[in-house]
Amino acid sequence: MRTKRLLSVLLLAVTFVAGTGVTLAADAKAENPKAVKAQMEIDKADKARKKAASVESEWTTTGKLIKKAQAALKKGDYDTATRLAKQAGEQGEIAYEQGASQKELRMPSYLKY
């Protein structure tokens, strides 16, 4: 009896989750492909920003660009959003490289021992 109830609850839950997934996907399809592209670039940029942060090398400029991109997306200015997000993503990658390339301490030549 108990297992049956549990099973039905589970089934309901699965149906609900699956249902939401389908609606979301449908929504995305219905959405302007430019908006989808902008959101994708923003997500990519945020991932790059976090990657830079993981090597303690994040720039202050990157988060600001992402915020601006999000604001542009909200306003429906997808081209601006995409452009800014791309810039942010590029910055994240460069900042990561900057941190990663200095994983080992390299003493500068101007300090003499």
Partner: protein
């Protein structure tokens, strides 16, 4: 000893040293590819290198001037600074801090119960705490004391911690910086090395390290600002900064420095900045504490 023999001996010794070094290097390499050159210098060698660097660049500036920061090397800035020091803008902070120090917590206890040598205890910080396995700064110790007595922790960059630390710094004037890196705990040296690594790492969109400005270009000007030497960087905090229009902590300054170079700041009193403070304060070993200070 004839010259040829001397040379032969030197060669032999060199070969011996080289052999030893190679073995050591091999061992280090096996230990996991630790940065060889970087790890070679001891803290005392670091401090000597910094000292010699500034001595060479500013031969007329005596060591006891370094606690005055850029004003040790900037004659024009110094005149203004001396005028400001006639009526120190940090004075109200000292008075306010004294009141805080003397006011009991809700449980009736006071800061004195935590710091029996207080209030003049600045030279005891930062120090390695073996039990907690981390660098303890004075700011952190203050909050640990507060929390142990059921009080809320204070913020680390501005606010009430600034007057309290100003008073404690004032009462510590004349003490000598003396950071110790205990040899019985390798984690202490690791913390120092991590602070040193932070100092020399280029970061931010502008790609500067602390050393870019405060070693390589010390004494030169960015616009009209003379870049200060790192020896003496830690002696005079908290600082009343005209740009802030108030007094703030060393970690607030770290935050500002990082922002200037467009690097996302670390957390005030987080591990990175505490380790940086540990390294930076070690460099000033032997210099007199003269906080609180006033800066442009």
């Amino acid at each position: 000893m004839p010259a040829s023999q001397v040379i032969e001996r030197i060669c032999l010794e060199k070969r011996h040293i080289m052999k030893k070094t190679l073995i050591k290097m091999g061992a280090l390499f096996l230990a996991g590819g630790v940065a060889l050159a970087a790890q070679a210098a001891t803290p005392e060698e670091d401090r000597t290198a910094f000292t010699n660097h500034y001595k060479f660049r500013f031969p007329d500036v005596p060591m006891e001037e370094y606690p005055n920061g850029a004003y040790a090397i900037d004659k024009i800035g110094r005149e203004n600074w001396e005028a400001i020091e006639e009526f120190p803008p940090y004075e109200p902070f000292i008075d306010e801090g004294q009141e805080m120090w003397e006011t009991p917590f809700a449980n009736g206890k006071t800061y004195k119960d935590c710091f029996s040598d207080g209030p003049g205890i600045k030279s005891q910080y930062p120090r390695w705490d073996k039990k907690q396995g981390m660098v303890i700064t004075m700011a952190l110790a203050i909050n640990q004391c507060r929390e142990a007595n059921g009080e809320k922790a204070l913020k680390y960059k501005k606010g009430p911690i600034v007057p309290l630390m100003s008073y404690m710094a004032f009462e510590s004037r004349g003490q000598i910086t003396n950071v110790v890196i205990p040899e019985d705990d390798p984690r202490a040296m690791a913390a120092y090395e991590s602070g040193k690594k932070f100092y020399f790492t280029r970061r931010g969109q502008l790609n500067f390290s602390c050393a870019t400005c405060h070693v390589q270009n010390t004494g030169l000007k960015v616009r009209t600002e003379v870049l200060s030497p790192s020896l003496g960087h830690t002696t005079h905090w908290p600082v009343y900064r005209s740009k802030w229009g108030t007094a703030g902590t060393l970690h607030r300054r770290f935050t500002g420095c990082n922002r200037n170079i467009r690097a996302k700041p670390m957390k005030a009193q987080g591990e990175q900045y505490r380790n940086l403070e540990y390294f930076l304060t070690y460099l000033s070993n032997g210099l007199t504490l003269n906080g609180p200070g006033a800066r442009k």
